[in-house]
């Protein structure tokens, strides 16, 4: 499955919210019923970093306790139009993904 990353900026009166959506199964062995004989391998995102103008502003640590296709949101302090924001993630298999956008 293609692990697509999307990044969106949502402006409200109170804050600038940065939302990252990754298409990812977030799978772990213990989530599946034992004895079904299903071949399951661990596959979940362990870390997601948010950057504002190449500077890390937040690091989210994820695990199988987060539902599949994680939608993660943080709020930015003093973000201005024209600023570059980026999200990058790494999963337990070492696969990586990132997306970036510019604040309008």
């Amino acid at each position: 499955m293609q692990k697509v990353t999307k990044l969106r900026v949502r402006e409200t009166e109170a804050q600038t919210e940065l939302m990252a959506l990754v298409k990812h199964p977030m799978d772990a062995v213990w989530l599946h019923q034992e004895g079904t004989g299903q071949q399951v391998s661990e596959d979940y995102i362990v870390k997601m970093s948010f950057e504002l103008n190449d500077e890390v502003v937040a690091e989210a640590m994820l695990g199988p306790g987060v539902a599949s296709d994680p939608l993660t949101g943080i709020s930015l302090k003093d973000a201005k139009p024209g600023d570059r924001v980026k999200v990058s993630w790494i999963d337990i298999r070492g696969e990586q993904g990132s997306a970036e956008t510019i604040i309008k």
């Binding site: 989530l31 306790g65 296709d69 993660t72 949101g73 709020s75 337990i92």
Partner: protein, 152 residues
């Protein structure tokens, strides 16, 4: 005969290259310990050390009061505190209670995510701000089956 040997060869090759076998995982050692902790107290001790959580109105947790089993539960944590350094979301009745946590380096005190819940449970948000630990909790009911008829 030729076709048979070819097939066998192809099968052996796929198995040998590890495509069918388990894939070795490379977890970050620092997060592995806390994500496999089996009690809420253990999670708190690993993440925040000796700090005692204080229930505080400054922390707000937003989530539905009930959810369908196997469906993601959206959780939003926001707070009006300054200098927030970490936010953690913990589901007490999950096998591994810690859902996720975020280290805020230069971001506001806000975190939103979608968590997995195995059964009805208290969901607690822990917020580290200025070296103090604050918390807010709510109970989320997980319904087995549809239409909210079968409550646990």
């Amino acid at each position: 005969m030729k076709r048979r040997t070819l097939l066998k060869g192809a099968l052996a090759l796929t198995a040998g290259s590890g495509l069918l076998g388990p894939i070795p995982s490379l977890a970050l050692p620092e997060t592995m310990e806390v994500f496999t902790a089996t009690s809420e107290a253990q999670v708190l001790k690993t993440l925040f050390g000796e700090a005692r959580p204080i229930p505080d109105g400054a922390v707000r947790i937003e989530a539905p009061i009930q959810a369908m089993q196997g469906k993601p539960v959206p959780v939003k944590v926001s707070c009006v505190l300054d200098h927030v350094s970490m936010i953690a979301i913990v589901t007490a009745n999950n096998r591994y209670p810690l859902n996720t946590y975020v280290k805020l380096i230069k971001a506001g005190g806000y975190y939103s995510t979608r968590i997995r819940m195995e059964q009805s449970s208290m969901v607690t948000a822990y917020v580290m701000a200025n070296g103090d630990l604050f918390s807010a909790a709510m109970h989320i009911k997980v319904n087995r089956g549809g239409y909210g008829m079968h409550y646990e």
